[in-house]
Symmetry: D2
Subunit: 408 residues, 4 copies
């Protein structure tokens, strides 16, 4: 008798989370013992954030459900309310899809909606990219996700150690690398940017010659300091003006405070500047990575500068506290949100040039590994913190864990 | 210039959570540097669960906001949806009250609504009763609360060690004991049950003579096995019938699956039984503790049997997996949901009689300690996992933590 | 080329709304040009209200979606919040089902969730039982439903006149009769109550001999006076005690204030009464109608006393304001919530005995008629109030109505 | 003993609804027997729609509560979901504020959230601007609001007749005129546009000389045809290009489909055009009316062209179906969304020049009248359709209406 395929439900909530799962989606779809259920939610269904849902469809994936859950306001109150709405609606979705495993990705605020809906509905939960360390609310969200999850697919060796130190069962924590590295590996294997790719990048401002030297900027507002977002963006804009290099600037995502960053950019665009600066709102992940690979350096506070750029060997200037604590390769220089410090660091990185590739965040096969583990791991929901502590008297557990569905 | 008092917002979501915070409420109200903001939510506002909100008012507390958030259905889907609704509504409430600290209590499913609303709104979050270990969904909820919280008030020394091992800053983890023990201490200092207290207990079934021997039963359904709730309750009912002792049975709370337990009880009541068995739905915490103190033993799967009963020295028979992993004193015998095992254990406990008081869960001054820490602790929201790991290269943080409001 | 069948989505939200649509469901399922999409929501999915969803499945209907939307509290605040939640969730459901027509039934508070979701999503909306006149919030809900609906299936000739006077296009208002009369017609064609049916009625209290004389009571709380619900129920209970006739009392539904009625009943049951009184919570509609047919009279404030009972010729005593304004046949005597008035009226009705059947609310073929109209009516969403008013200058409309989907 | 002032809770949900109530707010604040409770919700709290909430504060009003309820997506699904969220949250707000009357304004989709929350919570509801006739979903929303409301403040004599024909009690329907006319009257009494006002209008594009000739354009997407919004906007843009007159174009509001209009405008701006065209997103209502007064004509589909412009005597060219059925003065020429028809009509209107003022929509004292009625009207919630119909037998009502709070 043939065994039923496990239904793996993945909730994609933003462009970034799609980039961080895309190679795993491919691997799941082509795995003989898995069936993909794809839910697209939050900013990923919105035109204002580039209709990621359309990209996903264009990439050939069938979408099982779309969830509108972003309450307008882009402030801390609406972050909380949006998560509440998403939690309510995802419960309805999971009730209809009845997946065997739900997968929650990384650490954006709305990921807790996915994780809580699955946990409360007794569906085994897998979490991608736990165990990393950063600043901001992401830090809390990421580790709360870890404590709700039953399976963990982490990017680095340290991340695995940290997840285990938080009390997770080592048998359930897999160091697969980050699926976003799989895309970088694909780009690295491919050719440099062709004309077609360049033409496909739409934005505003003075277009940059992509066959020459240019910088990439990607700067997010920091939610716990969201009123400072504008000042921080302005500092970067001024540093770019001083550097007199062409700049490809990628617009921030839908976090609270993005208005601050956007306003700074809008204000800047009204002034007159010597060098071309081109502002791009949404771009396909693969295309972005190709543009990154050909750039002189990346500047900003995105994890891309640390994660994908280290694998690609692109020099990075990381700004401020947002990535504080995240492991980094040799390609990163950390500076505060200060115009002069940014200028100095970018110059040093341009002098240095390309770094050797770093395997810190994965070997480029994370997607396949994740699919294999999802197909074979024992699925359980009844975990317990696994600290040994001889000083306390506790009930000897009859069984450490209840098998919900035995793999293999 | 006089300093503004810190506004401490406490969200009470059930009868149990009120019992676990009541002494702290008293201490906060009478603290010169604190101001209490009291939000009553979830089952605590519902008549079906005994209108805890009325008890709170009768105890003299002013209620700032009531939140209706329980979506009917009592199943895993509605647990998730209710939490989503609560999250959305609590965000609105916190936006109006603008507290300096929010306090989330223990590990019921809806507590994550409180914790997420506060975290996402950049309000420092204190969590009560982290670091304990149990079975069921509570385990996940409790530790997720810990990873969202900035201050931790834990009951036992082991709980403090565990919270720190999960990556929390030791300077923010306070072993205050559990405030529920404060009530037990008060009861222990007082007289035995007077006639007035006995008369105040309303229920159904054949009333028990409270001046004689009787057992207390308190049995909750286990959410991850909610279809087994009825079978488990039936096993306990049969054990009681075999024991032929008067029984004071306290009705389960509003978890998914409570219908299973309720149905078993209703079915039992239609049969004929030799000894009096009295089913009580809602009772004031103090009164309950007095009844517990005078009982021969407590049977069931409530944490009361482990926590308050150990302090009171009341023998306890703990059933099944729900309290698996929770630290326990000498007063507890663990048995499976099996009629014979229950009967044997109860008999052994009755033979043994009262145990010496155990300070495992606190000394009886948790409320005062919590109020003092809330008044003086440095309030921060920008925490980071505090593991030392020399093998990884990370950004050297400019400051470990940003002070939101400096204490004292 | 065969034409696609129209997808008719019907939202059932309570036991009563199921009874009022059941014969139409049958007719839709067996209609060659219609496809039924069945959504069960609100109290109809809850065990506490008799799991109507299970009855519907047992009757052989496939359920496309279940919606949990009742927020506990049973008060005016939660009525509003539940409707809001239902509106949000039904929008998601309609987005998935993509029906050609949505059908909203009668006038319970949650029906506006159905009607708004459909209207705002540009789905043609049909409303059942518009144009009737009653007291209470139902009055507002019913007519608001009418103003949102594009097609109207009304029960009486007066209802049709009234819907048209409210500005609806006469071509869209069909007097089909009420589908609940179809069930009554079926019962009337059948035999009197057999033993099997009697045995199937489960309740509490002293069982009534269903082969002898008995009264049926069905009394709902009135939402705009919900604190008076208990007093009104008590008055009826006392009247029954005075009458010394066996009583079959059917429990109220899930409106705000039902606790008042329930408490009165619970309190009464603790006293001692001469005649048998049996309290029934949930009963199948067909069985209920058979019991009604065999009773001496029906007492209360349900529309059943006016609607189905007039067709069956069962004498009715209608209490208070709840049915104020509703058309009635000769079988009804109206009295206030006053013990003596109730007693007198019941005695008069028992003396009078059975009335001749009245076709006021339909001929018994409403379900078939509704299905036929749903299959053939022109479907539009762009209606406009159709008053002629020569005194005002308005734009001459290019077209009176835009055909969304041409029938036939 | 002094009488308590009636608490009048007004829910403002957009810039337009603020303009339509502003003079009433003034009158309520200064009325000795009224107390204003102001709730600002939906697009009125969002920066993206010009932070109306800040304008309201700048005008000196105290805001009691802000409600975030707009779910991103700008499509029919999110219109429904946003209304559901708003309904849930407004219920919480009303529960805290406990108003004596709630006021719902006009016919935007989210107004039903206000009306349902108030009705279901047994709070007397007043509705502004009922009885008018238009196309689109507004038509359904407006009349549904009427059927939920207890008091009606209408703009025109025909509107009063229509509200009464829909079954409302004539004693509760007051023809006060529209408060938006009060602002127009104020502007008419004042001077023409001074330099200060002109400088305060911020937008994008080539600025228009406001001392010379210019046209005003204000064009909304039509929700039931939201995919056509772009085509319709393009037609108007081309007509403007043909006319070669300076244009002041006001951006559409937050309806479903506004992206279509916005995209057309953005696309147009990238082309090159002879005459200055200036696109303004948000402007204070008073300033807008001054700009309108000084313009040669207004073009578009806004009710402003019909309502305020008729009072001001400004020639108007009304496009398409959106205002179909609304009463209009002599200042309006109706044309389809066709470039040539638009060009012709604008030329005819420019040739004609200013019209004499028309009192169709009010005399300019609506705010004061509304405040006076709110202070003195008998407040009831238990209305019933008031048709006389001798052909039917109904219960003779004991009292036509229950006084909740007697005025005076």
């Amino acid at each position: 008798m043939p065994q039923a395929r496990r239904k793996i439900c993945i909730v994609v909530t933003s462009r970034a989370s799609y980039a961080r799962i895309r190679s795993a989606l491919d691997a799941i779809v082509s795995h003989p013992r898995l069936e993909l259920q794809l839910v697209v939610a939050a900013s990923a269904v919105l035109a204002r954030y580039g209709s990621v849902v359309d990209c996903i469809r264009a990439d050939g994936f069938h979408i099982d459900s779309q969830v509108y859950m972003v309450i307008e306001g882009e402030n801390p109150v609406t972050s909380a309310k949006s998560t509440g709405l998403g939690l309510s609606d995802l419960a309805t979705v999971f009730d209809q899809l009845r997946p065997d495993v739900v997968v929650s990705i990384a650490d954006r605020y709305e990921t807790l909606a996915t994780s809580i809906a699955a946990s409360y509905m007794n569906i085994p939960l897998a979490h991608i990219q736990g165990g990393e360390v950063t600043g901001s609310i992401d830090e809390k969200v990421r580790h709360a996700n870890t404590k709700l999850a039953d399976l963990h697919f982490v990017a680095t060796r340290r991340a695995r150690r940290f997840v285990i130190r938080m009390g997770e069962d080592p048998a359930c924590v897999f160091r697969t690398g980050c699926p976003s590295i799989d895309l970088a590996a694909k780009v690295l294997r491919g050719a440099t940017l062709d004309g077609g790719a360049a033409r496909g990048v739409r934005g505003v401002g003075r277009p940059v010659d992509l066959t020459g030297d240019y910088l990439v900027v990607l700067q997010h507002p920091v939610t716990t300091q969201y009123d400072q977002a504008r000042a921080q963006a302005t500092e970067t804009l001024r540093a770019m003006a001083t550097l007199r290099m062409p700049v490809l600037w990628f617009w921030p995502n839908a976090d609270a405070g993005s208005d601050g960053t956007s306003n700074a950019i809008r204000h800047y665009r009204e002034g007159a500047h010597a060098e071309p600066m081109y502002f791009v709102k949404h771009v396909d992940s693969m295309k972005f990575l190709r543009l990154l690979l050909d750039s002189r350096a990346i500047v900003g506070n995105s994890s891309v500068a640390i994660r994908e750029a280290s694998f690609l060997g692109v020099p990075a200037v990381n700004l401020g506290e947002r990535q504080r604590g995240r492991e980094r390769g040799r390609n990163v220089i950390d500076v505060p949100h200060d115009r002069r410090a940014i200028v100095d660091a970018v110059r040093r990185q341009c002098d240095h040039g390309r770094y050797p590739p770093d395997r810190l965040y994965g070997e480029g096969d994370a997607g396949t590994q994740i699919a294999d583990h999802l197909a074979t791991a024992a699925l359980t929901i009844d975990k317990q913190i696994s600290y040994v502590d001889d000083r306390a008297r506790v009930q000897r557990p009859a069984r450490r864990r209840q098998a919900v569905l035995a793999g293999g």
